[in-house]
Amino acid sequence: MARQEILLGNGAIALGLVESGCKVVTSYPGTPSSEILAEVIRFVKSERLDTYIEWSTNEKVALDTAFAASITGKRAACCMKQVGLNVAADSLMSAAYMGTIGGLVIISCDDPGPHSSQTEQDTRFMARIAKVPVLDPSNPQEAREMVSLGMDISEEFRIPIVLRPAIRVCHARQNIKFNLIKKSAQKASFKRDPQRWAATPAFRLILHRELNIKLKEIGKEFESLAQYNFHNLEPGKRYPFGIIAGGVPYSVIRDILTEKKRADIPILKIGTPFPFPESLATEFMMACKRVLVLEETDTVIEYFLRNNNMIFGRLSGHVPSEGELVPQVIYDLLNKTLDELNLEKLGPKLDYEATELVKGLNLPVKRPTLCPGCPHRAAFFAIRKTKPKAIFTSDIGCYTLGINLGAVDTCLDMGAAITIASGFYHSFTQDEVTQPIVATIGDSTFFHSGTAGLLNAVYNGARFILVILDNLTTAMTGMQPTPGLGIRADGSKGKAVSLERIVTGCGVEFIEVVDPYDIKKMVNVIKKASTYVNEPEGGIAVIISRHPCVIAYPDEAIPERKRVMVTDDCVECNFCLERFECPALYHDQELGRADINRELCVNCGLCIQVCPKGAIVEA
C-alpha cells in the first residue's frame, strides 16, 4: 500500500514541490503560509534531496531569489502570505514580462476572515494585475496537484505561475498518498540575453506583447483543463439556476448539495480564475437562467463573467463582501437565493437559537495576549511607564499585542513602526509641537523592512525612540530563525548579522542594548534615550531590548525561576492587571486581592518588579 500521511494543506503543497523536482524554495514566514517551507525541509531531509532552501529576509528577496534560480533553468518556488505578495509585487510584475526558464511557482496564501492578517485581499487580483496565470485549489490534495501542474505550465510557456491557496486549504488536514520522489538533475546555466534579462523600455514593449500571446495560449489550454475546470450539466438541458464556484467555497457548496441531494442544481468549478475559461463559462451560463457565484475573497469570477443581469454574487448583494464564506453562511445565502427565485429551498432556515443563547451567556472574550514570561511585556510596561504621553507606533508580530498594555497605537504594515514614527515627527514638528514618539519593532520585522525606513528617518532628521524588541526568533509565525541568530532554515550554521552594526550603519548615533527583564534598567535607558532625542544635537535613539522568547527558549528566557505570591499588602488597585496584563494574574473576589493562576504562571518573577505596593513577592 502506498505510504499515506495526514498532512496540513501546507504539507501537501510542500510535497507537490518536492515531487515536481523543485530545486530552490524560498519563503518569508507569515500565517497561513509559514509551514510550507518547514515541510519542504522535512521531505528534503527524509528523501535526501539537494533542494536549496532559505528563509529569505522578506518576500521580495524570496521572489527575486527563486526567479534567479528559474532563469538558470531550475524549477523554483517561493512561498508567502497574501500581504507578502504586496512586498514582492515589484518583482512579480517585472518577472511576468521577462518570463522564466525553469518552472517558477509563486505561492501566495489568502486569509479570508481575516484570521491572522491586516487585509482580506485576493491574490487572484494581484495575479491578474501582473498578468500571470493563477490556480485556485479547493483542498490540500488539489493544491498538491496544482503545484506540479503550475511547474509544467510555467516551463512550457515560460511564465511565472501563482498558486493561491486560502487558509482553509493551508490549515486543512487531509490524508495524502505519497508518490515516488526523485532527485532532480537540473544544472544551473545562464545564457546571456540582455534584451530579455535586462530589457530597457523599448524591449519591454516586445516582452509585453509576448506575455499577452502567452496568456491567450494558456487561456485555450485552461478551457480544456477538465480536471480543474468542469461542470456537471446534462447535454441539452436547461436549468433555472446554477452555481459557479472556485477555491474553498467550491468544496463547501459541493458538500451541501451532495448532503441535500440537489442534483437539480448544476455547478461549474473554476480552478483557473485567470486566464479565465471564457467558453466553458459561456456554455454554463447559456444553460442556466440565473447563476450564483461563490468565490473568496473578492469578485474575480464575477468580473470575468461580465453579465450582471443574471448573476447573483457580491455585486448584487447576495454574497457578503467581507468575512469568510463558512458553510453556514453559504447555506443561508443559497437558501435565501433559492427562495427569491421561487425554487425549492435546501431545507429550513438555519436556526440561531444556539447563537442567541451563547450571546446571552456573556462569555469572557478570550483575546490573544502576550505569553506569561514574554520579554515584550516587560519592555512595553517600561515604555508606557516612562513615556506615558508618547504616541506608540508599532509593527507586525506578537508584539502588536502590546495593544493590551496600552503601548501600541498604530500598526500599518511591515516596517511601519519606523516610517509612521518619522511621519508623525515631521507632522508635529511642522507645527512646532514636541510630541514624544516611541516606535517598537521586532527583530525579524526589522530585518524584513526596517532599514529603509530607518535610513530615511536618520537622513531626513526625524527624532524618536526606536525600541527593537529582539527575542531572537520570528515568534508569531512559529519560531523561524532570524538573520540575527546565524542559524539557517534547515538548522545549519549561517553568518549571524548584528542588529547593532546595522543600526550603526544606518547612521544612528545613540544605541543601547538592554535586557527588559531588568525593568528598572530598561526605564533608565528609555529616560536616557528620551534626553538624547531632545538634545540640540540629538536624533533617533535606538534601544535594542534583547531577551530570548519564552516559547522558543524556555530555559534561557527564565534562567532563575521564582515562585511568586501575592501578600495581604495588595490594595486591589488592579495596576498589575491593567498595566502588566499577564494572563497568570487575576483578581480573586473571595481573597479580596490579586492572585496567581498556577497553571499559567511560568515563574518568571517579572510581576514582583511591577506592583507599586510591593505586594507581589517571591514565596
Partner: protein, 184 residues
C-alpha cells in the same frame, strides 16, 4: 467532530490522535485547524470530518461530537452541534452545564458528560496533558468509529518518545474515570 478550548491546551495533538486513528481504520480524513494569532491564548477550534467530504469545515448544526478542554469554549461553540449531538467537556465545576444551557441541551436531546480532565492529568504529574485525559474519558463511551484500543495505540505511536509513557497513563486514567462514570 468539534475539538475546542484555549490556545496551548493541546487541541491540535488531540485532533492528530483522532485523525490518525481514523486513517488507520481506513477512513478518509479532513480537518481544519487554528494557527497564528489566535493561538496566543485565544479560543482555538479544530474541525474533524471523516468519510467522503470535500470541505474541511463543519456547518453549524451538524456536528455529531464535541470535545472541549474548557467549559466556556464548549458553550461558545454550541451552535455547531446537531440535534442528538454529544458533548464531552473538561471541567471540575459540579454545576455544568449552566441552567439556561441545560434547558437548551435537554430540549435538543444533546447528551453532555463532564470530567475533571485537568485534575486527572495533574494528579499524575502531567498538568499539560488534560487533552489526553479528556480523550480517555471520551473513549470509555464507545462513541464514534475510533475506540479505546485504537486511540491508545495511536497515542503510543505518535507521542514523542519521552512523553509516550505518561501520555498513555493519563489517557488510561481518563478512560477509567469514564468507565466509573457510566456505572454511576
Amino acid at each position: 467532530m468539534i475539538l475546542c478550548g484555549l490556545g496551548g491546551q493541546g487541541i491540535l495533538f488531540m485532533t492528530r490522535v483522532l485523525a490518525q486513528a481514523a486513517l488507520d481504520k481506513g477512513f478518509n480524513v479532513m480537518g481544519a485547524e487554528t494557527h497564528g494569532m489566535a493561538q496566543r491564548g485565544g479560543s482555538v477550534i479544530s474541525h474533524l470530518r471523516l468519510g467522503e467530504v470535500k470541505s474541511s469545515l463543519i456547518r453549524a448544526g451538524t456536528a455529531h461530537l464535541m470535545l472541549s478542554l474548557d467549559e466556556n469554549e464548549a458553550y461558545r461553540n454550541l451552535a455547531f452541534l446537531s440535534k442528538v449531538g454529544k458533548i464531552y467537556v473538561d471541567t471540575d465545576s459540579g454545576d455544568f452545564p449552566r441552567p439556561e444551557v441545560k434547558e437548551f441541551l435537554d430540549k435538543r436531546g444533546i447528551t453532555y458528560r463532564a470530567a475533571p480532565a485537568k485534575a486527572i492529568a495533574q494528579g499524575l504529574g502531567a498538568p499539560k496533558s488534560s487533552n489526553l485525559a479528556l480523550l480517555g474519558f471520551f473513549s470509555a463511551f464507545d462513541e464514534g468509529p475510533m475506540r479505546y484500543k485504537e486511540l491508545k495505540m495511536t497515542i503510543e505511536k505518535i507521542s514523542p518518545k519521552r512523553f509516550r509513557e505518561i501520555n498513555s497513563k493519563v489517557f488510561e486514567a481518563g478512560q477509567n474515570r469514564g468507565s466509573s462514570y457510566k456505572i454511576a
